[in-house]
Amino acid sequence: MRVVAKIVVVIAAAIAGAVLWTHLPLSAQADSYQPPRTASGVPDLNGIWQALNTANYDIQSHPARPALALIPASPRSATPGLDRATHVELPAPVVRPLGAVGGVPAGAGIVEGDEIPYQSWAVAKKKENADHWLERDPEIKCFMPGVPRAVYMPYPFQILQGTDKILIAYEFAGATRTIHMSTVGDSPSSTWMGWSRGHWDGNTLVVDVTDFNEETWFDRAGNFHSDALHVTERYTPVSPHHLMYEVTIEDPKVFTRPWKMRMPLYRRFDADAQIREYKCVEFVEQLLYGQLGVVDPATGTINK
């Protein structure tokens, strides 16, 4: 075979391989994929990553809806035979000016089996949370989002692998987790972002997260946990540009059994991808404190 023909064959084979590679499901790729290693010899997870799904709206499968806060439409009495306006539920007045920006896109759930095994009292609590989303969701107040919610919020995060600590720098609220890869003592207190101990299981970074408070939620749908929450995360590189993220949730105070969520995380490789400053405390002070002082800064008038 002539050299040129050989090159053509090699290139064709490479293209075919690449096409085949990109068309394999991630789970199949994961079985064979060998990630690059750091200089210390562990899998290299360094980079900026982001989930691309609608889990922050609702970790379970959900249809599209007009807004996060809804009210029932008034009965329509003027037209005989019609007792409702066109839509049964309408955006609540406080979120109505946002129009389509305030809508909720449909999405497949990330929960294994799409069912969260709440204890019976907790089913009612979840519904109550959803009904009071606007007052209760800690995301609205720029509180630290907790784990795993921080992972699938619509903001990037960066994994920084140090010598015996791995930092995860989240953009939202400037939250940071320190994952201890060597022996560390116990957390002196409960926390928002948990106390993280990590180890390697083959190519997978396994993080055991404990010492949570009961303040964080899983999503904007009111899914919640208690301070008995125990989170086990698994980050597995499945291609140069993807991590498979699997997380097991245990909380005997709220759920009847452990349950899992699973999703791919995508590498951000836009030019100059960085974790930017998102100091949202400043953005919510008017909401939280505007009415409390002598003067309301939004109006310049004296609060009654």
Binding site: A39, K165, L167, G174, M181, S189, T191, E285, G290, L292
Partner: protein, 341 residues
């Protein structure tokens, strides 16, 4: 502000402040690089938890005008005072100064309710230097006249008010930040900072306000997005990390904030982290901001490495900011009293 009033962050930050290494497991035997060595990928290794533990004031006190250094006798006297104060603090006889008051001015000798906020755990290191500022040679901040007025006004209001809205307390009380300029050395917790390195990045995690800087050290130029913490890029000059930060966002409208927390767009910082010893970094920061200063100034700050098992704990300031509603309620009560007179 260097001192914050009682905002309930909880045991976490306090535990960090008190730094109780004895409670924790010994450092891992798997740590792969010696303290003064290099990372596995060949960069100088600055990783660990660091803070400023010195007793040197930023500006040279007026009684030491014209003197760079103290005599051996003066140093010995200061060491005695530090030890005495430390002993008194440990006995609970005397707390640390709170706010901008010195212990001498405090009617209850520093035992204010929120003096627990201060780090009493370790005696401060005495040095023969008379100011952290090494340039200009007089050891003074070269304020412009307007900036000096603004600073004096902010200082006079600190802890005094009036507090008419959430915009009136300083940025620390609002749980926003104490700013990047003093991050390596200010703060009641002594500025605990964890440095973590990964290929192409140096990350500094500061305990207070959970402030964080992810500094690219890969030769990229400055970006164009303005941020409160600016846009930092780093480079290695031999063993020294040099960090150049520009593109600060304008926060001069926060008139009650101090110079550390109120950057203007013209602020430019150049920081140098030079490892001089396994347990010491000589940190210098050059601050250039024609909006605030008549010339660039430089401070040289000795930073100490804390034991390997020292942790940076979660600082949930905003999440537990009960002080803000209470402060504003107090402000309304004051206003109501005044108007009823």
């Amino acid at each position: 502000m260097p001192y914050r009033s009682l905002i309930l962050v909880g045991v976490v930050a306090i535990a960090g402040a008190i730094a109780v290494p004895a409670c924790y497991a010994p450092p891992s035997p798997t740590a792969s690089s010696p303290t003064t060595g290099r990372t596995a990928w060949g960069d100088p290794d600055l990783q660990g938890v660091w803070r400023y533990e010195g007793a040197i004031p930023l500006e040279r006190p007026s009684q030491l005008e014209g003197r760079d250094t103290l005599t051996a006798e003066e140093v010995a006297a200061r060491e005695r005072v530090e030890k005495e104060q430390e002993a008194k603090r440990l006995e609970g006889v005397e707390g640390a100064a709170v706010g901008r008051r010195s212990i001498a001015e405090s009617p209850i000798r520093g035992n204010e309710y929120n003096s627990f906020w201060q780090d009493h755990g370790r005696p401060r290191q005495v040095s023969n230097r008379t100011s952290l500022i090494v340039d200009p040679p007089d050891g003074q901040l070269p304020f412009t006249p307007n900036a000096k007025k603004a600073e004096a006004r902010a200082a006079a209001r600190y802890g005094v008010g009036p507090f008419e809205s959430y915009l009136d307390p300083d940025t620390g009380e609002r749980c926003l930040t104490d700013g990047v300029t003093g991050m390596m050395w200010q703060g009641p917790n002594g500025g605990h900072n964890r440095i973590v390195q990964s290929p192409g990045y140096v990350t500094i995690l500061h305990e207070e306000y959970r402030d964080r800087r992810v500094i690219p050290v890969d030769g990229r130029p400055h970006g164009s997005i303005r941020q409160w913490f600016g846009d930092a890029v780093g480079r290695w000059e031999g063993e020294t990390l040099v960090v150049d930060t520009t593109n600060f966002v304008d926060r001069t409208n926060y008139e009650w904030a101090n110079i550390w927390t109120r950057p203007s767009e013209s602020l430019h910082l150049v920081e140098r982290f030079k490892r001089v010893d396994p347990a010491a970094i000589e940190y210098t920061v050059t601050v250039d901001d024609p909006t605030t200063f008549t010339r660039a100034w430089t401070a040289m700050i000795p930073i100490t490495k804390l034991p390997d098992d020292t942790q940076i704990y979660e600082y949930a300031c905003h999440e537990g900011n009960y002080a803000m509603p209470n402060l504003l309620r107090g402000g309304r009560t004051d206003a109501a009293r005044t108007s009823s007179r």
